[in-house]
Each structure stands twice: as structure tokens, then as C-alpha cells.
């Protein structure tokens, strides 16, 4: 069973790296385990392409067109980030920012984090999904504080408490969901299984589902980083090691949004869709606008791109809120390309700040002179995330905005202004970092450049050509989400 392999490989990796994660070759082991996970995920994907959606192990696990591409994406970004983290962590050791014990903690937690993400995606049980989301927070808390600097400890504390409290609200929402389901499906294990709930969603009690969805939105919304629940996000991204920022931004936010949308489908079935779509559009739009205006005030490169993540997650939430086949298709595409482009940017920013010895953007200058590949990676990544054609982000943003113009014209000025402000802020910052005068020195280990360009190439490809099965999944998932 490939599904089992997808879940068990990271567990085995965590155990293995818990034993040998401090050795010099641990980075390679980490990458190898991530590669195995990716291979298993690819085989699982191939299986789904061939045979369609599947249920496994007494209906405990479930793969359909909505989560299959997220599983593949998670495993892929997990692997490339592991490739990136090998030289990155060696350089951090060289700079004396971490010791061998923390390297072991890092590697073991990294694999555990991958496991929790994949579990949250693959499980059919809404309760287990919650457990996995909470476990993902726990697996990353000690990673955010890996450097043990006062700022990183504060960031980790904020992350721990805010996400803990947030996710507790989601548990209450899940309890209410179970309560509503129990009235229709009867007590016992099946009442939390998504496939069963989906079959009876129109019979679920609307008043309970209203309350449940509000709690779930606040709960999972905290992890997605929706304004005003976002304050943990920039801190956690900026203070942790860069590979952690890359997987938080590229994967965790996606998976949290996935959990929210799965529940939205059920709430829509019972409520008809108005409430959920208004709430999600409201939170989404607020996140886009607020994050865009915070962008221009950032000094720290990783904080800048953390706010950009809030903006993009807001845009995706808004698109899911609008609903309809086109907007949902665009939201799913945007999830994919944002994840790829943002992690590529974090890889480039990570090496750039290692070179400069600081994350302050004013001190990072002239990357094209000292290390052209990092410089061009950062430049192209920024252009991609800002929605320049022909990158994939352009395609998805274009679809989102044209749908908004047609169906919710009042929202378009806000969206366009926010995107314009974001463009000015990010481009204005990145341009001198890449092309300015420099005094930088070389890195002690060769940086990992390949993942940056592989990601950007994929984003480019998705902007020009979407493989037919991927488009088909998006369409099927869009029909499912509505």
C-alpha cells in the first residue's frame, strides 16, 4: 500500500534521525527519507490517476481529487526543502548558531512535521485531522526557537499559545460537527468520517453547523494566518531557521486551509453557502488588504515574505469564499503555485541572509555580483510571487480577479489596490538587494540552488501549461467544493 508508505516513511525517518540526526551525513539522510516519501506519494498519485478516488483501512483514509495534488505537493516541497536544508544547516553549524544536539532535534522534528501534514491531508476523520494539525504545531514549536535567541523564543511562545488557543476553537467546532452528524448518522465512529458526512450534509442541523463553522473558521483560520488572527505568523517565519519558514509558508498554511475548506463543504451542504462564503470572503479580503499595507513597513526579508504569505492566503480564502467553478479552480491553482514560489523565495532569501550575516534587507546588497544564481533566483521568485506573466501566479490571480469583477465588483478595487501596493513594496525592496553595490563574501558551503530553480520552473510551467490530469483534479475538486 503506497498510502501506508507515504505515512510510515516520515515516521521511520523521525526515528532514524532521532538516533543519528546530529551526524555530518544527517542532512543527506533527511533528504533521502524525504525522497522516499516523495516516491511513495508519486506512486499513490499514479494510483489515483489510474483508479480514481480511494478509501483505505476501514475508511480511515481517503484520497480524492482535492487532496491528492496537495499530498504530492507536500511531499515534493518536503523533499526540495530537505535538499536545501542540508547545506543551509551546515552553514549554520559553521557560523556556530546551532550545535549537534539541536541539529538532531531539527532533523527529527522535520520528519515528524512532514508526517503530521500528510496525516492531516490523508485522514478521512475530522477528529484525526484536528489532532494532526495540533501535532504539526507541536512539531514545529521547538524548530521556531531552534536558535534560542530571545526573539526566537518569543516567536515560538506566541506560536505555541496563539495556535494552541486557535486550534482549541477548531476542536469545539469539530465537537459541534460531530454532534450534528450524530443526529443523522447515529453514535459511533462513522459520524466523524468526512465521506459519510458528505453523503448526508444536506440533513445536518443548520443552527449547529452555523456555530460549528464559525468556530472552525476562527480555529483553522488562526493557522492559515488570516487577519486579525495572524500575529504569530511573521514572528514564527522570521525567527526560525529558513527551511522551517519555507515549509510553514509553503505547506502548513495550505494544509490548514485544506482543513477549513473540507469543513466548509459540509457547512455549505447544510446552510446553502451564503454564510460560509461571506465569512470567508470577508476574512480573505481583510487579510489581503492589511497584509499588503504592512509589507512596505518591513525591514526583515523573512518578515516581508511572511506578510506576503498572509496576503496570498487571504486571496485564496477570498477565492474559496466566492465559490463557483472558476474561482475555486483558481484558488486550487494558487495554492499550488504560491507554495512552490514562496518556498523558492525562502530558499534564496535564506542563503542571501547567510551571506550577508543578517536578515535586514538594508544590509543585503548586490546579490548578482557575488552570487548570481541566488540573486536571479530571488529576483525571479519575487516576480513570480508578484503575479508577473508568464508565471503561474499570474494565471490564478487573473482568474480570481476577473471572477471578482463579474460577481463581486465592490471587492475589485480593494484587491487591485492591495496587489499594487504589494508589488511596489516587494519589488522596491528586492531590487536593491539583487542589483545594489555589495561587499559580501562567499559562503563556506556551496548553497543549494537547484531547488530554487526547479520550483520556479514548475511555477512557470503551470503558468503556461497545466497537465490535463492536474486540471481535471482541480475541476473535480472545484465541483466538490462548489
Amino acid at each position: 500500500m503506497y498510502l501506508l508508505a507515504v505515512l510510515l516513511t516520515p515516521i521511520a525517518g523521525a526515528v532514524l534521525l532521532g538516533l543519528c540526526g546530529h551526524r555530518a551525513h544527517a542532512g543527506a539522510v533527511n533528504a533521502a527519507m524525504s525522497l522516499l516519501t516523495l516516491i511513495a506519494a508519486t506512486l499513490l498519485t499514479a494510483q489515483v490517476i489510474e483508479y480514481g478516488p480511494m478509501l483505505a483501512f476501514d475508511e480511515l483514509f481517503f484520497v480524492d481529487s482535492f487532496n491528492v495534488f496537495l499530498v504530492a505537493l507536500t511531499a515534493f516541497v518536503g523533499f526540495t526543502t530537505a535538499l536545501f536544508s542540508r547545506p543551509y544547516m551546515l552553514i549554520e553549524m559553521h557560523h556556530g548558531r546551532i550545535d549537534a544536539r539541536r541539529l538532531r532535534l531539527y532533523h527529527a522534528s522535520y520528519q515528524l512535521f512532514m508526517f503530521t501534514m500528510l496525516l492531516a491531508l490523508l485522514t478521512n476523520n475530522l477528529g484525526i485531522m484536528w489532532v494532526a494539525m495540533e501535532a504539526a504545531t507541536l512539531a514545529t514549536v521547538l524548530l521556531v526557537s531552534l536558535y534560542r535567541t530571545p526573539a526566537s523564543l518569543e516567536a515560538a511562545w506566541k506560536y505555541f499559545i496563539l495556535c494552541g488557543v486557535g486550534i482549541a476553537q477548531a476542536l469545539f467546532g469539530t465537537v459541534l460537527m460531530y454532534f450534528a452528524a450524530e443526529q443523522v448518522l447515529g453514535a459511533g465512529g462513522t459520524a466523524l468520517l468526512w465521506t459519510h458526512l458528505d453523503a448526508v450534509k444536506s440533513q445536518l442541523e443548520p443552527s449547529v453547523l452555523t456555530l460549528a463553522f464559525v468556530f472552525l473558521l476562527v480555529g483553522y483560520g488562526t493557522k492559515v494566518g488570516l487577519v486579525p488572527l495572524h500575529s504569530w505568523l511573521p514572528d514564527a517565519h522570521a525567527e526560525g531557521p529558513t527551511p522551517v519558514s519555507a515549509v510553514l509558508s509553503g505547506l502548513l498554511l495550505n494544509v490548514a486551509l485544506y482543513a477549513l475548506v473540507r469543513n466548509k463543504v459540509l457547512a455549505d451542504g447544510a446552510l446553502g453557502g451564503d454564510l460560509t462564503s461571506h465569512l470567508m470572503m470577508g476574512f480573505g479580503l481583510l487579510s489581503v488588504v492589511v497584509a499588503a499595507f504592512f509589507l512596505s513597513r518591513q525591514q526583515d526579508a523573512k518578515r516581508l515574505f511572511a506578510y506576503s504569505s498572509i496576503e496570498h492566503m487571504g486571496l485564496i480564502t477570498f477565492a474559496f469564499g466566492m465559490g463557483g467553478p472558476v474561482a475555486t479552480f483558481a484558488a486550487l491553482l494558487h495554492m499550488t503555485v504560491h507554495s512552490l514560489a514562496k518556498s523558492a523565495i525562502f530558499f534564496a532569501v535564506g542563503h542571501a541572509s547567510q551571506k550577508a550575516g543578517t536578515q535586514m534587507m538594508d544590509s543585503i546588497r548586490g546579490l548578482v555580483d557575488t552570487n548570481p544564481t541566488i540573486g536571479w533566483g530571488l529576483m525571479l521568485g519575487s516576480l513570480a510571487i508578484l503575479g508577473m506573466p508568464p508565471f503561474g501566479v499570474f494565471a490564478s490571480e487573473f482568474l480570481i480577479i476577473t471572477t471578482a469583477m463579474r460577481e463581486h465588483p465592490w471587492a475589485t478595487p480593494f484587491l487591485l489596490t492591495a496587489l499594487g501596493v504589494a508589488f511596489a513594496a516587494i519589488f522596491g525592496r528586492v531590487q536593491p538587494m539583487v542589483f545594489g553595490e555589495t561587499t559580501g563574501k562567499r559562503l563556506p558551503h556551496p548553497p543549494a540552488i537547484l531547488p530554487v530553480f526547479v520550483h520556479l520552473a514548475l511555477v512557470l510551467v503551470l503558468g503556461v501549461y497545466i497537465p490535463p490530469y492536474l486540471a481535471e483534479w482541480y475541476r473535480q475538486a472545484a465541483a466538490l467544493i462548489g
Binding site: 489532532v131 501535532a135 523564543l153 465537537v175
Partner: protein
């Protein structure tokens, strides 16, 4: 046992739970907070066992046992060891305005009841009247989390919140499926462990467990 007696007992436990939630809100000693937390767990375990007995839901016995082990024995024990090692056993927090806090707490209980009322009407469980109390104790713990400025009481507030959620699950639905409850319990346990490790890091870096000394990352 007759149904009305069972309902009365369930209501008694629920009110005890609410009382403990209020006591925690006003309690300034770290040590007493841990005791209160353990008592809350004990009431929760008793209540779950009672519901199991009345309704013949056998999986609830397991969850009562789980609650007993985790929330009455294991977590308080970890917390005790923690405050010993951190040397904050006799710490007293200065809480401003306990009367105001309590008044807001009363308001939260009213809100909790109002929100839960339409839902409890739908429920057919013997415990349905207590969903409001469950929501109220979640809100009270949330309030405690906000008003506290020290790391250990904040986490006790967090754990108390989980108690409230657990109670909500038992009162609305006779408990979540066992596999989910086990998962949640595992998360809570691991979370407490990580918190324990974390407090030492905080102390090392800041020489204090006061959150006010820690908050430096502000938006410029």
C-alpha cells in the same frame, strides 16, 4: 439509577466544574492553580464515568480512565515537577482587579448559555443541559489565559480550556470516538512536555517567566 437522579448528578458535576473554572480565574498561587486543575480533572473523570454508567456507553469508561490518568495524575505531576525545578512553587501573581474579572466572567457564562441554548434543545442526551456550562468554562479559561502574565498559569489556562472542550464533547454527544480522544490526549501530553522544556529555555534567555519581559517583537 433513575434518569432524573442521573440528570441531577450530571448537573451537580457541571456546576462544580464551573465553580472550579471561576476559582481558577481568581487564584493567584501557582500551586493552588495546579490543585484546582487536578480537581477539575477529577470531576471530569467522575462525570464521564457516571454518564457511561447511566447510558451504557462502554467507550466512555475508557475515556473516564484516560481522563483520570492524564488529567488527575500525569499532567499535575509534570506541572509539580516543573514548578519545583523552576523554583516557582510559592509564586504569587499580582492580578489586577479580580472583582472586574469575575464580573466579566459572569457575563461570559451568560453568553455561553445563550449560544448553547438552541443547540442543547436539539440534543437527546441526559447531559444536554450542561453544554452551556461547557462553553462557559471554555470561555472562562480563555479569559484566564488572557489575564495571566506568567508562563505556567497561562499553560494551566490552556489545559483547563481543553478540559472544557472535553466536557463539551461528553455533554453534547457522549464523547468523541475513542481514537480521536486518544489523539487529543496524546497532543495534550506532548504539548505539556514541550512546554516544560520550553520554560527552561525561556528562563535561560530572559531570567524570568514573565511574559511581559518576553514581549519585544512588535510591529514597527
Amino acid at each position: 439509577m433513575s434518569a432524573s437522579l442521573a440528570t441531577q448528578l450530571v448537573n451537580l458535576f457541571a456546576s462544580l466544574l464551573l465553580l472550579i473554572a471561576f476559582a481558577m480565574l481568581a487564584q493567584r498561587r501557582v500551586l493552588s492553580l495546579i490543585h484546582l486543575f487536578a480537581w477539575q480533572g477529577a470531576v471530569l473523570a467522575l462525570n464521564t464515568a457516571l454518564v457511561a454508567f447511566v447510558t451504557h456507553q462502554h467507550h466512555l469508561y475508557y475515556s473516564a480512565l484516560l481522563t483520570l490518568i492524564l488529567k488527575v495524575i500525569l499532567l499535575p505531576w509534570i506541572l509539580h515537577r516543573l514548578i519545583d525545578k523552576l523554583n516557582v512553587r510559592w509564586d504569587v501573581e499580582t492580578l489586577v482587579n479580580i472583582p472586574t474579572t469575575m464580573l466579566i466572567g459572569v457575563g461570559l457564562v451568560i453568553i455561553g448559555f445563550n449560544v448553547a441554548m438552541p443547540i442543547s434543545h436539539l440534543s437527546e442526551t441526559v447531559t444536554r443541559g450542561t453544554l452551556g456550562i461547557a462553553l462557559a468554562s471554555v470561555l472562562l479559561s480563555f479569559m484566564m489565559l488572557i489575564t495571566r502574565r506568567k508562563a505556567v498559569p497561562q499553560v494551566i489556562g490552556f489545559l483547563a480550556m481543553e478540559n472544557g472542550l472535553f466536557f463539551a464533547a461528553t455533554s453534547a454527544t457522549y464523547g468523541m470516538p475513542l481514537v480521536v480522544e486518544l489523539g487529543v490526549a496524546l497532543d495534550v501530553l506532548v504539548g505539556t512536555f514541550i512546554f516544560g522544556i520550553f520554560t527552561f529555555h525561556l528562563r535561560e534567555a530572559f531570567d524570568s517567566l514573565d511574559i511581559e519581559h518576553i514581549e519585544k517583537l512588535k510591529e514597527r
